[in-house]
Amino acid sequence: MNWIPQLLEIAPAANTADNYLPIAIQLIFAAGFVAFMIAFSAWAGPKRKTSDKLENFTSGIASHGDARQPMAIKYFLVAILFVLFDVEVIFFYPYAINFKELGWEGFFAVLMFVAFFLIGFIYIIKKGALNWED
């Protein structure tokens, strides 16, 4: 295993612990800020513990039922389709970087990719997966 560590040490920009100092500072600041705000508001705010105060409260409407109620299936459907179509766009990143080098051939390849994409989109619309009203 001797040959492996050398590989990264001879990298053009040396990767040392110093390079991570800004990230460490940011992490400490973020954690400290949150801790400080929670502690400060707990210390500075007024405390009146009555039963009305401790109850869940949203915009003046009395709460009822359980928060973990099953939702309409439509939300899941839209969420799942969103995940699918959202992530496919990832393939545009490598194309954007090599846009010039790939030329027309690459352009047509991407066009084909988008066409397949659109076919899928037409399919879900035709199937009525995005119809909100029944």
Binding site: A11, I73, I80, V83, D86, E88, P94
Partner: protein
């Protein structure tokens, strides 16, 4: 940073994922553990990709070694998304029938 750190970190994440899959009973959490395994692999691929580039860049500044490793990561992410959508659909289907996502209910076929 030596590559060993990356290998150990991703193997640790990968093992957390495996242990989670084997011990947890909630289908969603098992599913998240599988995603964790895939992400550990992604991390390791990017680290290896950088390593191969660094090794090649010593001789040749315009080296393109290691790009395929990063491309593989894109493919893993896309396929994982496809798997997520199918998997969530299956879990929702099961939830609609038995009102639970606990895999201990999966014993109808054991006979």
């Amino acid at each position: 940073m030596p590559i060993q750190y990356y290998i150990i970190l991703s193997l640790a994440l990968f093992c957390i994922g495996i242990v989670g899959v084997l011990t947890r009973r909630n289908a969603i959490i098992i599913f998240m553990c599988i995603e964790l395994m895939l992400n550990a692999v992604n991390l390791l691929l990017v680290a290896f990709s950088k390593m191969h580039y660094a090794a090649a860049a010593v001789a040749n500044k315009a080296a393109t070694e290691g790009t395929e490793g990063q491309l593989f990561v894109f493919f893993i992410m896309v396929v994982a998304a496809a798997e997520v959508s199918v998997g969530l659909a299956i879990i929702v289907m099961m939830y609609r029938n038995i009102h639970s996502v606990d895999v201990s209910f999966l014993n109808r076929l054991k006979n």
